[in-house]
């Protein structure tokens, strides 16, 4: 039922990221959004912020709880998606279309393939 598209990298803390050369586009997984319930608020980092893999990257709040989203990579934030701030519910509707942050990749943290991530959330 939960979607886990091929071609993306996943983390144990339920982030996905897509590599495009030296840039990573980052979001949260379908499983993560379904656990969180209705997302109502997204607190994004600033462009230029430097993060290490495993650092808190941003915070998402739902009706039920506030959850930290962790950086899957070490690098610098190059873009943030203001659309998800205006329409947080878009993350529930389309978690893989609703990217949150783009970063330059210095190095990647521990990550999983789609099939490994599927096993994790089973």
């Amino acid at each position: 039922m939960t979607e886990v598209p091929e071609g993306l990298n996943y983390t144990k803390t339920h982030e996905w990221y897509k590599k495009d050369g030296k840039t990573a586009t980052i979001g949260i997984t379908d499983y993560a959004q379904s656990q969180m319930t209705d997302i109502v608020y997204v607190d994004l980092p600033k462009v230029g912020d430097k993060k290490k893999a495993g650092d808190v990257l941003l915070t998402i709040e739902s009706v039920k709880s506030a959850e930290d989203v962790y950086s899957p990579i070490t690098g610098t934030v190059t873009a943030v998606n203001d659309e998800v701030v205006k329409h947080p519910e878009s993350i529930n509707k389309d978690p893989y279309g609703s990217w949150l942050v783009k970063m330059t990749i210095e190095s990647e943290g521990e990550h999983l393939s789609a099939s490994e991530y599927r096993k994790l959330i089973q």
Partner: protein
């Protein structure tokens, strides 16, 4: 544990959550949509995880008057009342609704997480009283039908609205372990602040009734709703959640349910409760925030000091603002008093409201 309706929820693609040992639907598609369906139209909830305990026998009235700060023997047959079990210190163990079925016949509905504890509590205190106490929770299912259109749905299905805090019986096909007859119980109660009823029925009837209700509400933009919406609905109306808003640490005065104390007899906790009443310095209130979403455990501050604690918080789907319930120093409890709520190290402005935050 699963309720009898588990497969029906699964068919509706419910997202399940564990709640006090029960796998319950947290939501089907969206908490906010379900919340608004109940406020504007109608919704149904599986609340079969709630307990059902019967108390019957010659001394039932005297026994229950001893168990509660509320004089439940004042109820007429077919009436029910909101009250709470107090411990010897006058602190609330659990809140419940007590139903009077007849001269010597009652039942009450404790919360899911406290049913076993409460069953032991009443049984342990029944010595010397001529009563039979039975926990029939596992044989009973409950479905709540809530919202401004609930009475229309009832009529369509051939039922009548029993009235607020009243209940009646309808003929059923299966023996109801509460009444011992082929009956369904329809109670004018709920946990949403909307007009509605709760069906208290034998397990055998649950799937059939759920399907009928689901079909009827679907014609009216109604939705099945999960525990997520149940929680946000009750928070907007300032209704206490046992185990969160109190947990044997608050008395009825602090919890802003002083109306339940109307028993001049000798009930459990009476002596300590009288003493506490004079010394209580915190009271349960609602809070509306300018921004931010409060959560259980957040500190409430004013004049640079801590004045209270949040026990429940969310974003209100009706107000589209953060709201909280919690206990604060009585000196700051007046409506519209400005306070601060600390959420993850940042102070957010809030105003005090009555517990019933959404009118």
């Amino acid at each position: 544990m699963r309720t009898v309706l588990y497969d029906e929820h699964a068919k509706l693609n419910a997202k399940f959550t564990e709640f006090n040992g029960w796998d319950m639907p947290l939501y089907y598609r969206s908490i906010i949509e379900e919340h608004m369906a109940v406020r504007r139209h109608v919704g149904i909830f599986d609340v079969s995880h709630m307990g059902d305990i019967t108390v019957k026998g010659k001394d039932a009235s005297a026994f229950l008057d001893h168990m509660f700060p509320t004089k439940v023997s004042n109820l007429k047959s077919g009436e029910c009342v909101y009250t709470a079990f107090l411990n010897e210190d006058g602190l609330m163990i659990d809140d419940t609704i007590v139903y009077r079925m007849g001269e010597d016949s009652y039942f009450f509905v404790p919360n899911a997480g406290t049913t076993e504890k409460i069953y032991r509590w009443v049984t342990d205190h029944s010595k010397g009283y001529d009563v039979r106490i039975e926990n029939v929770s596992n044989k009973i299912s409950s479905i709540a039908l809530q919202g401004p259109e609930s009475e229309d749905v009832l009529k369509e299905l051939g039922f009548t609205y029993p009235g607020y805090f009243k209940f009646q019986y309808d003929n059923g096909k299966y023996m109801n372990p509460i009444t011992g007859k082929d009956q369904i119980i329809i109670s004018g109660t709920g946990y949403t602040g909307e007009k509605g009823v709760e069906f208290i029925i034998p397990n055998e009837f649950a799937v059939e009734l759920w399907k009928k209700l689901l079909e009827a509400i679907s014609r009216r933009n109604g939705l099945p709703a999960g525990l997520g919406a149940r929680d946000t609905l009750r928070m907007e109306k300032g209704m206490l959640l046992s185990g969160h808003d109190f947990n044997e640490d608050r008395d009825p005065y602090e919890a802003s349910v002083s109306f339940i104390v109307n028993n001049d007899g000798d009930f459990i906790g009476k002596k300590k409760l009288d003493e506490r009443r004079k010394s209580d310095h915190e009271i349960f209130r609602g809070f509306i925030l300018s921004d931010g979403i409060p959560r259980n455990g957040n500190l409430i501050k004013a004049d640079g000091k801590r004045i209270g604690t949040v026990t429940s918080g969310t974003i209100s789907p009706v107000l589209n603002k953060g709201i909280a319930l919690g206990y604060i120093d009585k000196a700051y409890s007046k409506e519209n008093t400005e306070v601060m709520i600390e959420i993850r190290s940042v102070d957010h402005r809030a105003v005090v409201s009555r517990p019933k935050i959404v009118k």
